[in-house]
């Protein structure tokens, strides 16, 4: 198992900021496309003029996950002209903790040796053996990092406690595969918040909808637009003026969730939502309950809804729901609307 997971790693790269203030893509193995390279240069925060460098960021670009660790060169080493550098690991899988640990080890190696050869050696041992020796806390073992753990790391509880009843909007949007845009000026807060959202629709276990760190740059937006529904994080406040990008806009600093005009129809809510919302809030208020408990509760609720839909589907021919069948059940209009859209999202609608 370890080897298959390790094979999800795609490349390792190195970006350096030198004393001239230039940020250069200096090295990579085996290769990184020029599009992705541009994106990574933008993400690695060395290109920004601010003195504040996020130590670890991650994100997704055209189904490739990237993990960037940035370090400052302080004590004199072989890297005479380098002030900061970033190690970039790209991979097919979502697992920030795993790649944070790995890239940090690679960073330390680079500082120590001043040459990417040792770094590459470590990368290859991880790729072939799933193990890598490390100075601290024992060796790095790829099997220590389960993907379920990564999914559960984000705190849904925090999300619910921050927005209360309004969390149901996020839930509905995710259920219906709508486009959610989150804004916060600090990248750390953005990463923390956005990665928790896909856990609201645990039954899909689909983290590929997550784009935690997007810039308002054309290639990235194009990539975003190919996805039917997503959770995208932006640090640029300008994103609030781009209604073409979102159905639901979350302003984290203000704690405000806005539903765009075009999505209001599909997102109309009724008693069903109220019930689910209350259940979520109640579960989150339980001080004893953990995040996984909350996720399980939400998941149960989701399953109930889906069961209704499945029951409906089984009545119809070839197990697909039709609007007529829905209408025969005489649900309240909001519920009917929701179920109809949900059926589409779950691909249960007859075409």
């Amino acid at each position: 198992m370890a080897t298959t997971e390790a094979q999800w790693m795609l490349s390792v790269g190195l970006i350096e900021k030198d004393v001239n203030g230039d940020t250069l893509w200096v090295w990579c193995y085996p290769s990184v496309g020029s599009d992705l390279r541009q994106v990574l240069l933008r993400k690695c925060c060395l290109t920004q003029d601010s003195r504040h460098f996020g130590t670890f960021v991650f994100g997704q670009f055209s189904r490739t996950w990237y993990y960037i660790s940035t370090a400052e060169v302080q004590e004199p080493t072989a890297l005479a002209k380098v002030t900061h550098f970033s190690v970039v690991v790209t991979s097919k899988d979502f697992n920030p903790e795993k790649y944070a640990a790995l890239s940090r080890i690679l960073c330390r190696m680079y500082i120590k040796h001043g040459s990417p050869v040792e770094m590459m050696e470590a990368y290859i041992t991880v790729l072939t053996k799933g193990v890598c020796p490390s100075d601290e806390n024992g060796p790095f073992l790829i099997k220590d990092y389960d993907v379920r753990k990564a999914y559960l790391t984000g705190s849904v509880k925090d999300v619910v406690s921050q927005f209360g009843m309004e969390a149901i909007i996020l839930y509905t949007a995710l259920m219906l595969k709508k486009r959610i845009v989150v804004h916060h000026p600090r990248i750390e807060a953005l990463l923390e918040f956005t990665r928790a959202l896909p856990a609201l629709v645990w039954h899909r276990k689909d983290w590929s909808i997550l784009h935690p760190y997007v810039h308002l740059a054309e290639p990235e937006l194009q990539d975003l637009k190919t996805c039917p529904g997503y959770v995208a994080g932006f640090v640029d406040p300008e994103v609030s003026n781009r209604p073409d990008l979102f159905d639901v806009f979350v302003s984290l600093p203000d704690g405000v969730i806005t539903v765009s005009q075009s999505a209001k129809d599909a997102m109309a809510m009724g008693k069903l939502h109220k019930d689910i919302g209350h259940a979520i809030v109640r579960s989150a208020e339980d001080a004893e309950g953990s995040d996984s408990r909350l996720i399980k509760d939400i998941s149960t609720k989701t399953k109930e809804v889906l069961a209704t839909l499945a029951a409906l589907a089984s009545e119809c021919e070839d197990s697909k729901v039709t609007l007529e069948a829905l209408k025969r059940r005489h649900f309240p209009p909001a519920t009917e609307n929701f179920l109809f859209h949900l059926a589409a999202a779950e691909q249960l609608l007859r075409i």
């Binding site: 050869v117 590459m120 039917p228 609007l323 999202a345």
Partner: protein, 635 residues
């Protein structure tokens, strides 16, 4: 001497604006009126605030004259005149008094040189000043409608020569810029077809305006470009063409952004697309609204259109119906039919509405299903690629399965070997890469240093530009000053009174020197005389003492000698008395001369006459007052 002083005073008075007749060439010829005017004008120049309230002419009434005189005297004291002054100074003044007053005032006049340097200079400046003065004078005149204008308005406000400022675009070979310059056709067009500028106007009235406008536009454009290029263009390190094209691109981008941001808020609403268009229509409508009203009327409003439309329709319907129906049908039938028609149409309309609703719902549903299909398609595609990859791996695994253990070992060794090879290759690559990166950084550093250098030089160039600008300005100003001074010099009277004055002054100085020499000669003569007198007196004293002694000795013996001694004593005493008397006479004569001089000066002041005159004035004022009082009583 005094004529000279008088001439200077009169010249100064003329300069401040007093009208002194040509034949007046000394203070003695001054009348009271002239004196009053001169003094008032001087005071106006010295202190405009003080002089503003003073009248330059003498009124006829005695008391009014008195008041004017008193206020003038007060004004003179205010500007600092220390001498004796009263109203009589102006009315019955003596020559020396007037002279001393005028000398004081003329000295108080501000220097002309200061005035001259404050004004702009050069021939053009002189012309401009003249123009400005003329315009100011014209502006001072109140505007009057043309038909009540006076002769003095004719030249400035006559309606005949006035034209409205209407400009037309001009085309001339030198003002067009850009790539078209080099085109052969353009050149030919200019040479053969383009009419001269003066022939390009529909009416001659707009020619001057158009030329002025064109010139001003070109000038301001050139200046603006110059300023911008020197302040920002140089720093951008681009050629002028590049700079222009970049600015153009920037502006276009900005316009695009503006348009997008303006269009966005409305796109959220239901009328997303139609709103901006309707806004545009509004704008166009507002433009059209400003067009002449008759035009709109000709086009016809929406209302008239619909009216026409409905009328014609009804008429047509009636025409269609009449042949079928007989002529005796009543108006009630028509109404009934219309109602039926109306209800049928309404039903149709409702049907259409519900159709539209259905279709909209259908469309929504289709959109949802479409999204679903897309989603599914994507998922399937992804699943497929994943599965294909897996399939390949599995295929290879199956191929290797028969000798699993062996193959696993082989594979592992292969992996290890290639890992080693890759690492080896990487270290080799590193040997090449590191120096290259270092080289890159080194070059970059040099580049940035050069950048710094060049920007420093640029700023130097900029400051030089500024300096050049300032220097040219200064040079221009100095040139103008020089020219103006030259013209002023030319316009100055050739007899050069100044040099005459200097010559006179020099002459006077030499005269004084000569006089001084004479005085010293006389003084030394006097001193010699004094010396002689002293020595003679001493000699006499000594001779007398000797004689006295001899005679006194003999007088004891001889009676006749005694007598002669007595005579001697008497003689000596008399002589002493005589000398004393002569000295006294001299003193008295000197006193007499002093007194005579005093009398003369007093006579010059005409004090008695003045007093008499003042008394007369007093009487006249009293009479006037009495007359006024009588009038008041009568009234």
């Amino acid at each position: 001497m005094m004529e000279e002083v008088d001439r200077i005073l009169i010249h100064a008075l003329r300069q401040v604006g007093t009208e002194v007749d040509e034949d007046v060439d000394s203070i003695r010829q001054f009348t009271s009126e002239l004196l009053v005017e001169g003094v008032v004008r001087c005071i106006r120049v010295i202190d405009p605030g003080l002089g503003g309230g003073l009248a330059p002419s003498l009124p006829p009434g005695m008391s009014a004259r008195f008041r004017v005189g008193m206020s003038l005297a007060q004004a003179c004291q205010d500007v600092g005149y220390k001498g004796e002054i009263g109203y009589q100074t102006f009315l019955y003044s003596s020559e020396p008094e007037i002279r001393s007053l005028l000398m004081f005032l003329v000295e108080k006049l501000p220097r002309e040189s200061a005035e001259a340097s404050a004004q702009p200079s050069g021939k053009s400046a002189v012309l401009q000043r003249a123009i400005a003065a003329a315009i100011r004078a014209q502006l001072d005149l109140a505007w009057v409608p043309p038909n009540c204008s006076l002769p003095l308005h004719c030249e400035t406000q006559s309606g005949g020569v006035l034209n409205s400022f209407y400009t037309q675009p001009l085309s001339s070979p030198h003002c067009t810029k850009g790539s078209e310059e080099n085109l052969k056709e353009v050149k030919e067009y200019r040479r053969d077809v383009l009419p001269p500028v003066t022939a390009q106007f529909s009416s001659s009235a707009s020619m001057v305006a158009s030329l002025l406008e064109q010139h001003a536009a070109e000038l301001s454009a050139a200046q603006e470009w110059d300023g911008e290029w020197k302040s920002q263009g140089l720093l951008s390190r681009l050629t002028p063409q590049e700079y222009r094209s970049r600015k153009l691109a920037r502006l276009q981008k900005r316009i695009q952004e503006q348009l997008r941001s303006a269009a966005q808020p409305s796109s959220e609403s239901a009328f997303g697309v139609s709103r901006p268009a309707s806004d545009l229509m509004d704008v166009l409508q507002s433009f059209r609204a400003s067009a002449p009203t008759e035009h709109v009327l000709k086009k016809g409003t929406h209302f008239t259109h619909t009216q026409k439309f409905t009328f014609t329709q009804e008429a047509a319907a009636a025409a269609a119906v009449t042949p079928i129906l007989s002529a005796q049908e009543s108006s009630g039938d028509v109404q009934l039919r219309q109602q039926e028609e109306l209800s049928a149409l309404q039903a149709q309309f409702q049907q259409l509405c519900s159709d539209v609703d259905h279709l909209a719902a259908d469309m929504r549903r289709t959109a949802v299903t479409h999204a679903q299909v897309l989603d599914e398609l994507k998922q399937r595609e992804l699943g497929n690629t994943e599965k294909e990859e897996k399939l390949q791996v599995k295929k290879k695994t199956i191929d290797l399965l028969p000798e699993a253990d062996n193959n696993v070992i082989q594979l592992q060794s292969l992996v290890e070997a290639s890992a080693k090879r890759v690492v080896n290759l990487a270290s080799q690559w590193e040997k090449r890469r590191a120096p290259l990166i270092d080289e890159h950084r080194r070059l970059k550093e040099i580049c940035s240093r050069q950048d710094l250098d060049s920007s420093r030089k640029l700023s130097e160039i900029k400051s030089l530009h500024e300096k050049i600008h300032v220097s040219t300005e200064e040079a221009k100003k100095k040139e103008e000053t020089y020219k103006q001074l030259l013209t002023e010099l030319e316009s100055l009277p050739q007899d050069a009174s100044r040099s005459a004055y200097t010559q006179r002054i020099l002459e006077i100085v030499s005269n004084i020197k000569k006089q001084k020499e004479e005085i010293t000669k006389i003084l030394s003569d006097t001193r010699e005389l004094q010396k002689e007198i002293n020595s003679l007196t001493g000699k006499l004293d000594r001779t007398f003492a000797v004689t006295d002694e001899l005679v006194f000795k003999d007088a004891k013996k001889d009676e006749s000698v005694r007598k002669s001694y007595k005579y001697l004593a008497a003689l000596h005493e008399n002589c002493n008395q005589l000398i004393q008397t002569i000295e006294d006479t001299g003193t008295i004569l000197r006193e007499i001369r002093d007194l005579e001089e005093q009398i003369e000066t007093e006579n010059g002041n005409k004090t008695v006459a003045n007093l008499e005159r003042i008394l007369d004035d007093f009487k006249a004022i009293r009479q006037e007052n009495a007359a006024l009082a009588a009038k008041v009583k009568e009234g």
